[in-house]
Symmetry: C3
Subunit: 271 residues, 3 copies
């Protein structure tokens, strides 16, 4: 599937930011890209990342990047440290290009695809302006994305770097009769995504007669394959579309049910 | 107008879901479509349908589909029953294609355009994955939409069905000197859209000297052609852009003015 | 940069409205455009302008239009006066086309680019329908945008007008040792954008040893080049990406910090 190329030889640019959808920020980025490459095809992943939340953006990018066509250029910008020592970078991976600040936002996706080359975006020739303002998304990253989408080599954009800042997903602690996991993301429906994979949970079930899962002092002891199999107001575990176990309540928000705020909450699976 | 075709022979795909704009759900759908058909042209109708609200999505689709170019492929997914007995379907109508779960979401629009063929999306060859996860939007519907947009016959996607689940708009009860209607939708501006058509209201006015309209025990006895003709804080009836009578307050939210929550509220027009 | 044209000879259409992203309003507009010009390339600037807020939309358009490629057609619709005496217009400027209601929404951007021609959209041949409903965005403006994007002369759309409604940015009062400015916009991050330009502020600093800035009885006496240079919970002035001075708090909302609601608040810079 991924072998298909765009018929006009131009690659897709996918955008992920915390710029919101009301101000002119995302529009300025798109305008710069289309000024540099009128044939670029743009897709918004999201501009609704919680302000300054690098971890959240890293997970969203990780959750969807692998479905995009080969050679897609991902520009991901959540950038509280703009103007500080954090570097603007581009990464060439096995199948894709990633552009953004070197603050961890790109790491989950890029590492998962296999990093081949990291470049510090230092070549001002490819900036929008010689002296960028506080808005690197428009002045540096959008311009770099446009050049990559036109087929420019990533090497032209600046000199090589050896490594990137990493944002790792906390891994669950797995014992024979216990898994200590955590909530790593909550989605629009209020599903609570844990860091426990479906495989890890199946492995636990194979070696234990039963399971109960504790979150915020409440117990979950059902697991289903589809949301609709559950009873009303009954929390349950389900393997979600990202292969992680999710805590859900049918047609309701598990986030509200369990009174969860943000991520990080502990999830204990026991016999 | 509708006779114009896309110059590259590829049709438009219009997306309507309750996936929200923050998570990677809508992006995954678009990524799958563009991986299967790099030339597809994508339009977001909305991803902000209230979670699980099939009725709301059905109305939004109904409100705009007929303005799209011929052969547009509509993919509409609000899918609380994913994985249950509800079938994934595609519908060929007089001018368009519709793809989504068979739970009523497609029915208002498809019936209005004239259903010509209904197909159960059972041919796994056209799935993204042999065994779809909980996310049929990405694993089944996006893939089917891509194939239809490339000109594949709807017959290839699976076997024929005789009928679809229907979501009908409640019809108003019309007597010579009374119309019993209901609020069927509230828009971003707080306008309350009723199921009483402009034609039905004009007919009432022709046979009655006067009118008063009751909603939540409050009276409305003005009607205008444009919002701007009304006085401040004066509720009024107006024929909206969908040809239904709407209850509005100039530059304010009628929804807040009448303290309306959701849809279904009774609207009585009397002499 | 701006000289690059779209390879297919078709221009970009950029959309800015208060239609929201849930209803079918924006989708109907796009559908009409693509029905009239299947090759049009559409970019959403925003559909999340606060309902009826012409001033806000005028500023958003002003903040991003100049980054778009030459010949972009901007359709901006916030239209509380739809159907009243306000005229539907198109403006040809030095580099762009602007379409919308003549209520001030277009004026900041169009004047900044240099107005060359103003046309009253009176030629019904280019309407979607002979008798438009309450929804001019769909019935008049979208259609006009499609024709302009195909290269139709603006003269065909109606007769010439001499001037447009203006929405001017309030200018700061500048004295040697005092600037009296105002908040003109607040962005998604809660940054408070003032009408004092970076140049004006630098001029003040050149002629004064020191500065203190008063907003809502609170003092600001720091200025930085990048957000990250500030300490936590310390408000500061910074030249933003639009060349205006902004009041910010690092990784926080200055809007909440200063308890600001809306725009218009006075900002006094003193020695």
């Amino acid at each position: 599937m991924k072998k298909i190329k765009f018929s006009n030889g131009v690659n897709l640019i996918a955008l992920l930011t915390d710029f919101g959808n009301r101000d002119g920020f995302a529009a300025s980025v798109k305008a710069v890209i289309l000024s540099k490459n009128p044939d670029a095809k743009l897709i918004d992943i999201s501009h609704d990342v919680s302000s300054y939340n690098i971890q959240e953006a890293a997970f969203i990018l990780f959750s969807c990047f692998s479905y995009f066509p080969q050679k897609t250029v991902f520009m991901a910008v959540v950038d509280p440290g703009v103007g500080s020592k954090r570097l603007p970078i581009a990464i060439k991976t096995r199948n894709y290009f990633f552009i953004g600040p070197d603050n961890g936002i790109l790491s989950l996706a890029a590492k998962s695809d296999g990093i081949e080359k990291i470049v510090f975006l230092g070549n001002k020739k490819y900036f929008l302006k010689d002296i960028p303002t506080t808005f690197h998304g428009r002045d540096i990253f959008a311009s770099a994305a446009a050049y990559l989408s036109k087929g420019f080599s990533v090497n032209k954009l600046g000199c090589a770097l050896k490594k990137i800042e990493e944002t790792d997903l906390e891994l669950p602690e797995i014992k024979k009769n216990e898994i200590k996991g955590a909530i790593i993301y909550t989605d629009k429906f209020g599903n609570l995504i844990t860091n426990i994979t479906g495989e890890q949970f199946q492995y636990f079930l194979k070696h234990n007669d039963n399971f109960s899962c504790i979150l915020n002092k409440k117990k979950i002891n059902k697991t289903y394959s589809f949301y609709n199999q559950a009873k009303d107001n009954e929390p349950f575990l389900i393997e979600g579309s990202l292969k992680f176990m999710e805590i859900s309540v049918k047609n309701k928000s598990a986030k509200e049910f369990f009174k969860i705020r943000g991520t990080g909450g502990k999830v204990i699976v026991k016999n």
